[in-house]
């Protein structure tokens, strides 16, 4: 698969490293060049330095031919704009978005082709599942 990842913080760099290791073609877009240092040494994809909220930067990352775009910056508002750009401007077939504030989840409810991953909800869900499973014993 050809995957474009927006944001190379702890989340983006971990995803990029693992996905490229398992054989996917990966492009990472990040505005702060220092963040690329978080990528593992064996990362074999491309790095693009720039603001992903600019159409030209997304084009540089060949987003129009991406099978999947993962939007993983640490800012919910930027993630919303960039995921809509990927969907509307570049017709990307599948978009995954990281969500910081769970209150934002509902913004994507009616948005087709976009899947949300709300880190706090996932964490809480995991913990609760574990507690409840153990409670049954």
């Amino acid at each position: 698969m050809f995957i474009v990842i927006i944001g190379c913080g702890r989340t983006g760099s971990l995803l990029a490293g693992n996905l490229s290791r398992s054989g996917h073609e990966v492009v990472v877009i990040e505005h702060d060049p220092e963040s690329f240092a978080l990528l593992p040494v064996d990362f074999s994809g491309f790095q693009i330095e720039g603001d992903a909220a600019e159409n030209d930067i997304l084009k540089e990352g060949r987003i129009e031919s991406a099978d999947l775009v993962i939007v993983s910056t640490g800012n919910d508002q930027i993630n919303y704009l960039v995921s809509q750009m990927a969907k509307v401007n570049f017709d990307v077939p599948r978009i995954m978005v990281r969500i910081i504030d769970p209150a934002v989840e509902k913004m994507y409810e009616k948005v087709e082709r976009v899947e949300v991953f709300s880190q706090i909800s996932l964490l809480a869900e995991n913990m609760i599942n574990k507690i409840e499973r153990e409670g049954m014993r």
Binding site: L81, K106, M107
Partner: protein, 220 residues
């Protein structure tokens, strides 16, 4: 109308005063404490101190009963997010956003933002015109710049001099609204003759403006 204004720096102060004088009820959201305090003191509006991208802040500002939300921050991602949040979470019907990056205008439109101020394009088109032609003055823009009304002085070497309006080759979308000659205004008819030095008030689409200026201004 119940209107919520977000952000805006100095612009918001004057905008708020105008809207209040027209009888609207305003709530202003600003995250700068100093600015929020100044606004609360000087303007007859409810001022909420906080970040409008936060659902609770919008709720505090009474978003559920607002008729219109206007987001004027310097960041397009915040303007889009705040408008969409108002629409999706509180059912606000009309939202207006400032667009700082002209490329976002179409996207915002597609996403259902009802009013869009493409500030960069508006300002640059006005500056461009005042730089390129001294004898053109912009009178006003209608519907956020979709229609412009402006005035051109007829140059002696214009192809229109001496001709009647019906004989001048003009695009159909350009309408002549008035001829000012020696301080007298006449409403143009097909048979009105154009003279050098006339000032013509023109109503046109912004993209046709250059064509009209070429015909009457007599320049390439």
């Amino acid at each position: 109308m119940d209107i919520i204004l977000v952000g805006g720096g100095k612009l918001i102060y004057h905008l708020a005063k105008k809207l209040i004088s027209k009888g609207h009820f305003l709530t202003i959201i600003n995250k700068d404490r100093k600015l929020a305090e100044d606004l609360a003191r000087e303007i007859n509006a409810t001022v909420v101190l906080g970040d409008a991208t936060n659902k609770t802040v919008l709720e505090d500002a009474g978003a559920y009963k607002a008729d219109n939300l206007v987001s004027l921050t310097q960041k397009d991602h915040n303007n889009l997010f705040i408008c969409k949040m108002a629409m999706e979470y509180f059912g606000v019907e009309r939202t207006t956003a400032l667009v700082n990056n002209p490329e976002n205008e179409e996207l915002f439109n597609t996403l259902g933002i009802t009013g869009i101020f493409n500030i960069t394009d508006l300002i640059s088109s006005i500056i461009e015109q005042s730089v390129s032609a001294d004898d053109v003055s912009n009178l006003t823009m209608i519907e956020e710049g979709k229609l412009s009304i402006f005035q051109v002085e007829v140059s002696p070497n214009s192809e229109a001099v001496g001709k009647e309006i019906k004989d001048i080759d003009l695009p159909m979308t350009i309408v002549l609204g008035g001829i000012i000659r020696n301080g007298e205004i006449t409403i143009p008819r097909g048979g009105s003759q154009i003279k050098s030095g006339d000032k013509i008030v023109i109503i046109s689409l912004p993209e046709e403006q250059a064509e009209a200026i070429k015909v009457f201004g007599g320049e390439e």
